[in-house]
Symmetry: C2
Subunit: 414 residues, 2 copies
């Protein structure tokens, strides 16, 4: 079916879902969770076919693993839907309201966005994770997954559609684009009459394509070149623990630290220590001359190393003269994701959180906490690195907008 | 100077302005208001030159009037800056905050967007109106006005820059692109490294160019095909007053009504009456067959008349069978701006405000109230018809975003 027709159907479904009772939405999500487990054999067959084709095509071990719907991952998807069903419904919240001198009562009320498009790569669990959050927030989900996961995605999306239908909700509130060509991705990016918000979930190539092609409103889930700045007053034992955690606890994710910035007053004491411990955990360090002069195990940083998101056991190290230089370094090279300061100086902490421009600015804790679950949102659909609409971890609230209700009794404008 | 260099300068200035004390921002705005009046002769000379060139080029009377900086308009611009200076500073508001089980304190704090770009047409008063709002909200304003108003815009922007400099704030917090070619507009639309938000203020041609070219985040200030639906239970005397006000009080603006929808139960009673009164005020009516059968003064509607924003003394009229048909008509042809229902039936009002998808849904009042001043925002930079970030009238709050502050005492992720 043409993408524009899928968009039209999603839009029509979104109008029904926008007013759907919470109980029906929750029942559909719980039923979909059950169906994911009941239909595990069918999902397994589809997934094995995807895996076999991908392996035959030479897919590497990492992506192959992300493509696999193991029983544990399937259980996780079901549990994810149950978690979302248990969250409070964001729709209908009265955000604020006031009365005007002419008697008009103005209320600002939280409503769904409408049609949320998700373009994603490989991982078929994103199908149920994203659709579940969209449906709970009253949106239709228009899903464009990758060709590698098409068979798996079709079965999972079919389960969500069946579960919606069983509750009398429109099945078209979850639509998977079944032609995973490059052209359909671009079509989704340009469906201005039908898509209210596009959230890409993928790597730099996808983000670049979105920037080049998208004409619908987009929330960019971008890179995380996250810094940890060790201030002159930092507790260096605590700093060591935090830096090691931020870098090594899960290096492949966007909230892992990529850059270490050290105040020169503590560089002699801290850089050799942290270099030893990180080196012992297999982390490759590259740094500026001042960092290298403190540890022979730090290699020379290439020109763009300070700007890179390694997503690997690699980290850049810079030594700075003072807090001003640290803030300037972070604002120059950061990607607006998460930036941390480790300090015992309240003034330094206050200046850093005020002047550093990022979705999350963290004091004396690991960068790894910038995450929907860690923030207490229950679930997340991504982490925004842009400033419009949503910033940082995005949960149900970020999948909504608002409308104004204006209640009058005959007012006209003079 | 190349646009990218202007963007770089605006970005640098925005970092300073983001932490600037309210008192300094307000002092700069008040000083700029004074300077607008002190330097009225110089503004007048520049504006006369713009007007002369535009008149020689054959500009029509309407645009010529909007280009003119009359003493009254200059006084209005100064008063606008004083009004904005008197508004509460939105920056620094703690939107919410909570403590996690691991002891992390998470706060969500309102911060400026950064660099706000405004692309606008002809009217030089937009220069001070937009820049004033941006500066008060802690943003740098990157202004790209039209060539017709270049001399006027340069003088007005220069006043804002001087006023900022006098307070020790960065003059580059207000930058006017001094090359008003088509190319510079497109460059501004694609300054992804420097522009955090683009707000176009202009007609359909500008909006189309933005949709085609912009890669920076955009808030669309789009068309208003606003409907007034007269329900079967409406007070028809009140309805007559409201419809006439919504259509005729200022037909050239986006919140004027363009479409009248009437329940067939009251069509015999209402359509002839409203057609007489509107016709008497010079309004041309075009309608469907059911409307035309009720009044000989209603002409045949062309195919796209129900979708058009006339911005003139013209209105489409449709007769519908029931509330469902009214909601469907409004959602089909509306542009997401303002939609009104006139009714005495609470259930009908509740269904209409719930199911109609628009920035503002109005009950028993004129559509003309969707406006920053009428909503009590003190000033507005536009009216958003998109759903991301801001919807409806945009004041200071809508020129901000938020960041998360995460306060820990050594937390790492397990």
């Amino acid at each position: 079916m043409p993408v524009i027709e899928l968009g039209r159907r999603a839009k029509a479904a979104s109008r029904v879902l926008a007013s759907a009772p919470t109980a029906l939405k929750d029942a559909a999500l719980l039923r979909a969770a059950d169906l994911l487990l009941e239909r595990a054999p069918g999902i397994g067959t589809a997934n094995e076919a995807d895996l076999a084709e991908a392996a035959a095509g030479g897919m590497a071990a990492g992506p192959l693993d992300r493509l696999r719907l193991s029983p544990a991952r399937l259980a996780g998807m079901a549990e994810g839907l149950r978690t979302v069903a248990a969250l409070p419904d964001p729709v209908g919240e009265v955000l604020d309201g006031w009365k005007r001198p002419n008697g008009l009562l103005i209320e600002r009320v939280r409503v769904p966005l409408g049609v949320v498009a998700i373009i994603y790569e490989n991982r078929p669990n994103v199908t149920s994770d994203s659709a579940g959050l969209c449906v709970k927030a009253g949106n239709a989900a228009l899903l464009r997954g990758s060709g590698t996961a098409l068979r798996s995605n079709l079965v999972v999306a079919g389960i969500l559609r069946d579960a919606l239908g069983e509750q009398g909700l429109p099945e078209d509130a979850v639509i998977l684009v079944d032609d995973p060509s490059h052209e359909t991705a671009v079509e989704v990016m340009r469906l201005t009459d039908h898509v209210d918000c596009l959230i890409p979930r993928g790597g730099p190539a996808l983000i670049k394509s979105i920037r080049d092609n998208a004409t619908v409103p987009v929330i960019i889930d971008g890179d995380g070149n996250c810094h940890v700045y060790v201030d002159e007053s930092a507790d260096l034992d605590e700093a060591l623990t935090i830096v090691v955690n931020a870098k090594t606890q899960r290096p492949s994710v966007c909230n892992a630290a990529e850059s270490l910035v050290v105040h020169e007053a503590v560089a002699d004491a801290f850089v050799p220590r942290v270099a030893d411990v990180l080196g012992g955990q297999g982390v490759e360090l590259v740094g500026d001359a001042a960092a290298r002069s403190r540890s022979a195990s730090i290699g020379a940083a290439a020109d763009d190393d300070f700007a890179r998101e390694f997503l690997d056991l690699k980290m850049s190290v810079a030594v700075v003269a003072d807090l001003d230089a640290a803030i300037a370094h972070v604002n120059r090279f950061g990607t607006g994701h998460t930036e941390a300061i480790l300090t015992r100086d309240l003034d330094a902490a206050r200046r850093f959180v005020s002047e550093v421009d990022a979705a999350a600015v963290t004091v004396n804790a690991s960068t790894r906490f910038t995450d929907g679950a860690e923030f207490g949102f229950g679930a997340e659909i991504g982490i925004s690195t842009q400033k419009l609409h949503a910033r940082g971890p995005m949960g149900l609230r970020e999948l909504t907008t608002y409308k104004y209700l204006v209640w009058g009794d005959g007012q006209v404008r003079g």
